[in-house]
Amino acid sequence: MSNSQEFISVLGAGSWGSCLAHRIAIKGYPVTLWMRREEQAEEIRTTRRNSRYLGDYELHPGITPTTDLKEAAKAKIIVIAVPSKGFRATSRELGDYVKPDQILLSATKGIEPKTYLRMSQILKEETACLKIGVISGPNLALEVMQEHPTATIIASRFDEVVEAGMRIFNANLFRTYGSHDIVGVEMAGALKNVLAIASGMISGLGYGANTRAFLITRGLSELIRLGMHYDIDPMTMSGLAGVGDIFVTCSSEKSRNFRVGKSLGEGNTLEETLKAMNQVAEGVRTAQAAYDLAQKFGETLPIVEATYHILHKGLPLTQAQMLLLGRPMHYEHNPKRIIRDELPPK
């Protein structure tokens, strides 16, 4: 009956996609890694290296590289790790081949501009599959390749998807946790990239740990407020996919979004910065979506708004800093309760 075969596919051979394929292969599953460029596939096939994204790290021999999407789409479980910009196009192509008994797991973080859809929603629109899940957590690809212990969340409305996802990835050095709050996990994963850029700017400007902690905690409260419009479970934001992921992307030089922010903080323009990187920084696109959503729901999200204006409207950093720090005083968890400042008596 079923033509889906007992192997697993990963679509997208960037650093994260390759790393995930590597993890699945370590667990002992045959895994097909799909990419568009034949030279890249050839490199992996002959040298077990994906030099552009993972430098000298050797990929597991259980990985079969391919450029044939139809072939890759026969897998029982398909992990999609293409950049959010090409996510819809790849999903649509995938939709020509996949059947409803297959499981799709999105490893891509982001919100589509204009439609404001999450990646799992795009998969649902572009394929006939409903068994859809996501994987997200404090997972820098390079550190996972180095086997530094970490953990990740597999989230789906379907137990079957959560459990299958956990089984193909779980290992002592890469623990998996399950969740039903797919919306919360995706919102956290996408929005945290905006904070990562802001946090990078703080480093670029030369500020230290106090400032970063200040930014992260106030930023987290913005993310929760926005997420609540989607009925997310606030506990998700304090879990691995929320605080866990924010912590790592907002503090590590290995995070691309962080590096974008840092470069801006050091005085480079966005154009120069992106040109110098040969990888995608999702937070740049997500900042636009997050800003639009805040407007739509009438939420005041100062850090998100400032980051958006710096990235897309050319607002100078110094000015953004003044705007943020000069905001009126209010209670920590009640921004509407504003306290008026008074000059000391002469």
Binding site: M1, G95, K99, P100, E126, T127, A128, R157, F158
Partner: protein, 536 residues
């Protein structure tokens, strides 16, 4: 359900319930059989004690004896005795649900039903009957069916239909019954509340619609499981079925946007069971439809119930306009005079997983690609029931049905004018919250007719745009009419039936005669974006 299937269904449902309860009792998270039976006895005894009970003394005594017997046997029961008791309890419930169905009546009802309904819906003043005599009055002018009627007829040949209408009034089921007849389809099975069976007028229609009995006073979890399992069985045996997925008549007048998933979920279960048994034509097609009235028979009672303080609203209403035949006749007469039509709008059909289905019963994804839907329920190539998975599928389906309701909802002249006037009164009383406005009628209680007419024209333009985008339907009468004509017709409707007029004309002004009714009718537009804002 026909007699041969009836016996089969009773056996089948009892065995499924007993087996599942046994399996469940073995799980660490499950309910032990003793507890399940004790809960059931407790719920049933509580029901029998309650004063608000429409069952006869004889039936109550019989019930009491039965539960006493079970209760007495329970403390000494070993495992096999427990199973036997569970079997007896299930069988009692199932037999009652299935009811005393008379297949002869079922056959002839198809012919009798439309005439009876026709008489009912045509104005029943003696003069009208005599004028029309001996010609049997026709329903053609009263109930208009639009939308995907041909698709429905074809799908009924390709599989089993689950029709899911919006629910405003107890008249809905006879209206659907007639529509089904008109489309040349056999009667649909339908779970009707016991209170409908006790209504002498409707009892007749209920039996003949193929209705089975649902006693909403029975709160035992096992009873609810039995209802679901029986509903699934009906679908599996190929009986087209009717569910109101809103669960009960809309109290507020708002369109159902959140649906009850229990009975909807039987579609996926029935389909999977059909695949397991390799049944010919295993597919289940879900057909949403909306019923659209100018006036709703029970509006006054329903909205009053809606506006009661939280917790005091009644789930079962037995003393509404529907229990008073004079009110029904008044209602029907009023509508007859104004040549009112009931619009039945048939929507897009879906499979149990929320995919669009074409007239050949084939499913397609958003990009128009064909889907082999058996794959949704396959595990390792074998069709398998998985409750958690199927609940998620049913969530998808319920979202699609709610969207289709919204697209098929037909705005009638009464809804439009109620919306316009209510919004204007809200704007004229900006300091009042909803409940105060409804309670006091506002500080400013009138609006100038001229302003109302202009506002109607303006809102109409927006509704036309929504209709062109496929987001809503408009009563055909509205086409090409201006604010003056629209207001005039709505006022005539509001004058005909309700004890107080929702709106009335006083000189060059409009005043609300009954704010609650006005609110009820304007609520049909809640959820649509008008003037850049979602109507709340």
């Amino acid at each position: 359900m026909q007699n041969k299937d009836r016996e089969r269904a009773i056996v089948e449902v009892v065995s499924r319930i007993v087996n599942r309860s046994m399996e469940d009792s073995q799980l660490s998270t499950g309910t032990p059989l003793v507890q399940l039976l004790n809960d059931t006895i407790y719920q049933e005894k509580k029901r029998l004690k309650s004063r608000a009970n429409s069952v006869t003394t004889k039936a109550r005594n019989e019930d009491r004896q039965f539960w006493d017997k079970i209760q007495k046997a329970l403390p000494h029961a070993n495992d096999s005795k427990l199973k036997e008791l569970l079997h007896d309890v299930s069988k009692r419930f199932v037999s009652e649900v299935v009811g005393n169905f008379n297949p002869k009546v079922y056959e002839t009802s198809v012919k009798v039903l439309p005439v009876g309904l026709s008489l009912l819906l045509n104005a029943l003043s003696p003069t009208r009957i005599i004028q029309n005599f001996p010609k049997v009055p026709s329903l053609e002018n009263n109930i208009l069916i639009s939308g995907q009627a041909e698709t429905l007829q074809r799908l009924a040949q390709k599989g089993t239909i689950m029709m899911v209408p919006t629910h405003l009034s107890n008249l809905d089921s006879p209206v659907i019954g007639w529509s089904i007849y008109k489309l040349g389809l056999p009667p649909f099975t339908y779970g009707a509340g016991l209170n409908l069976f006790s209504n002498p007028l409707l009892s007749f229609f209920m039996q003949n619609l193929g209705a089975y009995r649902v006693d909403r006073r029975k709160k035992a979890p096992i009873y609810k499981d039995i209802l679901k399992e029986y509903a699934a069985c009906c679908l599996e045996y190929g009986y087209h079925s009717l569910f109101f997925p809103g669960g009960t008549r809309s109290r507020s007048g708002m369109l159902e946007r959140k649906l009850k998933k229990g009975l909807l979920g039987t579609a996926a279960v029935a389909y999977t069971n059909n695949l397991i048994r390799k049944k010919h034509n295993p597919k289940i097609f879900i057909v949403p439809c909306t019923l659209n009235y100018h006036l709703v028979l029970e509006a006054e009672t329903l909205v009053e119930d809606y506006l009661k303080e939280a917790g005091k609203a009644r789930y079962i209403i037995e003393d509404d306009e529907f229990s008073d035949i004079r009110r029904i006749l008044q209602f029907v007469k009023g509508l007859g005079t104004l040549n009112s039509q009931i619009h039945v709008s048939l929507g897009q059909a879906f499979d149990p997983f929320g995919n669009r289905v074409d007239e050949d019963g084939e499913s397609y994804d958003n990009r128009g690609r064909h889907i082999d839907i058996s794959r949704y329920v396959m595990r390792d190539g074998v069709p398998t029931i998985d409750n958690q998975r199927d609940r998620e599928y049913t969530n998808e389906l319920s979202l699609k049905i709610a969207q289709e309701f919204s697209a098929q909802n037909m705005i009638m002249v009464t809804h439009l004018v109620a919306h316009v006037c209510f919004s204007m009164l809200e704007r004229k009383n900006p300091s009042m919250d909803l409940y105060r406005l409804l309670h006091t009628g506002g500080d400013i209680t009138h609006i100038m007719i001229m302003e109302v007419e202009q506002e109607i024209d303006r809102v109409m333009d927006q509704l036309i745009r929504l209709r062109e985008a496929g987001e809503i339907r408009l009563e055909p009468w509205l086409a090409g009419r201006n604010g003056t004509q629209i207001l005039d017709r709505a006022l005539k409707f509001f004058k005909t039936y309700h004890t107080k007029n929702a709106l009335e004309r006083r000189g060059d002004r409009i005043v609300a005669g009954d704010m609650n009714l006005l609110y009820y009718y304007r609520n049909r537009l809640v959820g649509y974006v008008i003037d850049g804002h979602k109507v709340r």
